[in-house]
Symmetry: C2
Subunit: 237 residues, 2 copies
Amino acid sequence: MSVHTRALTYAGRVDDGTLRTESRVERKQRTRRAILDAALRLSDQSSLIAVSLRQVAKEVGIVPTAFYRHFDSIEALGLELVDESFQSLRAMLREVRRPDDAATFGAIVDQSIETLIRHVHAHHAHFLFIARERAAGPAAVREAIRHEIELCERELATDLARLPGTDAWTPEDLRILSNLIVTAMVSTAEQLISAQGLSTQGRSTQGRQDLEKEISETARAQLRMVLIGALRWESRP
Amino acid sequence: MSVHTRALTYAGRVDDGTLRTESRVERKQRTRRAILDAALRLSDQSSLIAVSLRQVAKEVGIVPTAFYRHFDSIEALGLELVDESFQSLRAMLREVRRPDDAATFGAIVDQSIETLIRHVHAHHAHFLFIARERAAGPAAVREAIRHEIELCERELATDLARLPGTDAWTPEDLRILSNLIVTAMVSTAEQLISAQGLSTQGRSTQGRQDLEKEISETARAQLRMVLIGALRWESRP
DNA sequence: AGTTTCGGTGTACGTTCGTACACTCAAACC
DNA sequence: GGTTTGAGTGTACGAACGTACACCGAAACT
């Protein structure tokens, strides 16, 4: 059994040392949380479609049928995880978007990449989940992720429109550019996750950090290349 | 049972109408081919990790244990499919690379995108397989795909170095640019596959063609943007 | 205080899974 | 023409799967 497994107990000791019992809603929420975490952990290798309801239940420490008290199916659980994952991603985007009007062009790029790396570290499991299920999850999950990424592209497009020197861009140009940038950033996130995964296997911490540095430098250069190209861009008549 | 299923028969009628029996190696090869095709078909929804040995055997029309006469495991079968898929991809790259020195810059872009679209159509199952298993296949399969894509990047880098006006690029710049282009093209292929998938569901042929047109136009514009940016590029000291 | 609600239990089912083992029988070989 | 080889068969097993159903007991409600 996994080292992460912790049996659910329904009485917690509070600060003053007395025992207190949780309310029913607290218990339910805690079990629900445990199920979500277990599914995230189990889908770490391979994909959610390869995760069984019974595996999740065993990992959480409940009986299989109790799963249904919280979700209709593994797929429904997956949709919940998509929601949750994109909430942290949205937090990241909000952070990058902070209205720092005085920032130079290069500074925006550097800050964006740095933020991406920090958030991939902080929400490693969520990013990994999205990257995997985007291509191989249950159909409904794939669709949900595709939709969320499209929303990200639209958000990015409105931000880009605020940059100076972008007057020549048509809405279509904006969409195309956003799509390219988001694609590149998704790919960067996937590479970072894969690099983190290597450290779990036998790979020196030094080697892992070097690899991460290289990935982020590449992403930085690519983002600059793309923006240079876009600024010289004039859409076809 | 799938509409694709065809029972394997071991006597074929040749042109003159007489029956002839296949040689043993021919039979084995044909069954092997049927197993590979069945696995490709079954992994179409979800991923190879969700495909069972018994499903494949049933689809092919053999008994489960006969599977082992051809492959050690589903994972081994997957590695074979990776090999096969990248053979057609390599054929595509070879085609794009044809030494057409007189070609203009825009013509190279247009021809590359057009070739990509044609090959995604022709080898739809293979591209879909790679796109899926790249993120969610068995670990060994993921690694094999990652390695093959890296090889593609290196090939592209040597081709880019031959373009005029690229003298200022360092080997590192070349690697970064190749990575960006390959990432964008992989993403385009995934979008094209997804668009083809929609036509299987209720979606008008017209709508599908429009969507495909939009995807290819986007890819064309992105490739041009990237190249414009790269040509104005000067690597940092 | 009595009743209801509901998260979690335990058993029990039919299915599917991977795989072990002994078998067949026709092509391939000597 | 007798022997060997090997792709495919058939049965059989224990394990894991999703899920139906009756049940429990304590928090929550009246």
